[in-house]
């Protein structure tokens, strides 16, 4: 599902964030990406959602070479993946429902399907009763769950998450992981970047450890 070969990303000041990185994630896998701050986790995720382009090397996701996609192909690609941002990236002026439905609107589904699917996924994260609330009226944990609901709403083949449990207490973090596990059980490939070793231990899945932009080890 995800294949990187000799992937390198060097930022403007010449600082390499990823160095000759080669790894693969199979379809249907649940993988943790871990490592200390500055290891390259977030950079790899940014490359995976085409927020940035690699300096060199190959990055192929679901058969698409991301480095060479046109802007229109990038739009199409992004509609097939889900992403949970570390800072949630919820739209403050829109309700919980609208924040989730925005993805479906981007894909052009009808109003009935949109309503059914958005409410379904909100129910899945336990927030159907807060669908009319605005993000700033929610707790950190609730905002995180809205972000997860938005990532899941279009049934993506692949979900990326950047520190998705960073603002949650341990119980909520496990609850959140259960959501990802359920999603993974339905066939979605999941890649989560986190430095929470305890969480990784409790969930017990494949782990790729990065350090200084290189793969340090895989468990």
């Amino acid at each position: 599902m995800i294949e990187t070969r000799h992937l390198t990303k060097v930022y403007a000041r010449g600082v390499p964030a990823l160095r000759d990185l080669s790894l693969s994630v199979e379809k249907g896998e649940f993988v943790f990406l871990t490592g200390p701050s500055g290891a390259g986790k977030s950079t790899l995720l940014r490359l995976l959602i085409c927020q940035e382009r690699p300096t060199s090397g190959e990055l192929v996701v679901a058969g698409r070479p991301l480095a060479t996609l046109s802007p229109r192909e990038v739009q199409d690609y992004r509609r097939t993946v889900g992403f949970v941002f570390q800072d949630f990236k919820l739209i403050p002026s829109r309700t919980v429902y609208e924040n989730v439905a925005v993805v479906l609107r981007a894909t052009g589904v009808g109003e009935t399907v949109e309503r059914r699917r958005a409410m379904q996924v909100l129910q899945g994260v336990g927030l159907q009763h807060r669908h009319a609330a605005f993000p700033l009226e929610l707790s950190g944990g609730e905002q995180q769950r809205v972000a997860v609901a938005r990532a899941l709403v279009n049934d993506p083949v692949l979900v990326f998450a950047d520190e998705p449990t960073g603002n949650l207490d341990p119980d909520l973090a496990i609850e959140m992981m259960n959501l990802f596990r359920e999603m993974n059980a339905r066939g979605t490939t999941v890649l989560i970047a986190t430095h929470d070793r305890e969480l990784i231990r409790r969930v017990g899945r494949r782990v790729i450890t990065l350090d200084h932009g290189r793969v340090l080890g895989q468990d």
Binding site: I49, V74, Q75, D76, K89
Partner: protein, 302 residues
Amino acid sequence: MGATGRRARSWLAEAARALVRGWRTSMLAIATIVAAVFVLGVALMGSAAVDRVLAHWGRTAELSVFLSRDVSAAQRAAVEQALRGASAVADVTFVDEREARGRFVRTFPDLAALAEGPGAPHLPASFDARLRPDARGGAAVEELATRLAGMGGVSDVRYDRGAIDRIASTAGLVRRLALALAVLLSLAAALAVLSVVRLSYVARLEEVEILTLVGAPHAAIRGPFVAEGWLQGTVGAAIALLGLGGAFTWVRARYGAALAAALGVDVLAFLPPRAWIALLVGAGLLGAIAGGAAVQRRRSAP
């Protein structure tokens, strides 16, 4: 409702929210549109009024040939023959000195004593020629007037058309100036809309970024901003038209009768529906274009 209608409704709702949220800056854009449409509307109405006056005056334009005091019977007959023989002339009336004095007294009753008392000025006899409608303003009349002016016993030839043409030429210049001002104001309005929508865009950059990251099409991201520009343009034009309507009603009530009496024709008429629809649509389009330009895609963006 179809997908397009639903999308348009959603963009308009967002645009309306943005308009309310940033009402202070939106007011600036709307005010410039109001000014542009108001000036354009006044220019159009003024232009139509001038056209009506000139058309009315043109229809009543006559050629008057004033005879000198010592005109001989032969000279008078030659002038009359020249007039009656001209194809541009429909009818000829002779006005003798007594009739001329009578006309003066009827036109200026307050000055009657001047015309009738001892030492009253000489009011010359004249031929008044009514012109054929198809000949008015033509070269044949100009030639006839020149020829008559050179004939013996003729002291002066007055042809109203010349004055009308000069007024029309001045009115045309004023009209062009007004239109140029309206175009300048329209450009200013477009720039104001562009700046205001740009501000709105910058304020919502995070939202735009999120929409981009979830794969929203560029049209879906730009749509609300284009709608915002359209809304500003349309609201501005609607306010301007209401203002024009109010101002027109007031001017008509206060000065309508006096103007009609002075100019000989009722010149005041509001813009026809076709014009105000064109102003509404045009201002909306201008706003939409400015809104679209404000969020033009940056080519370097991924």
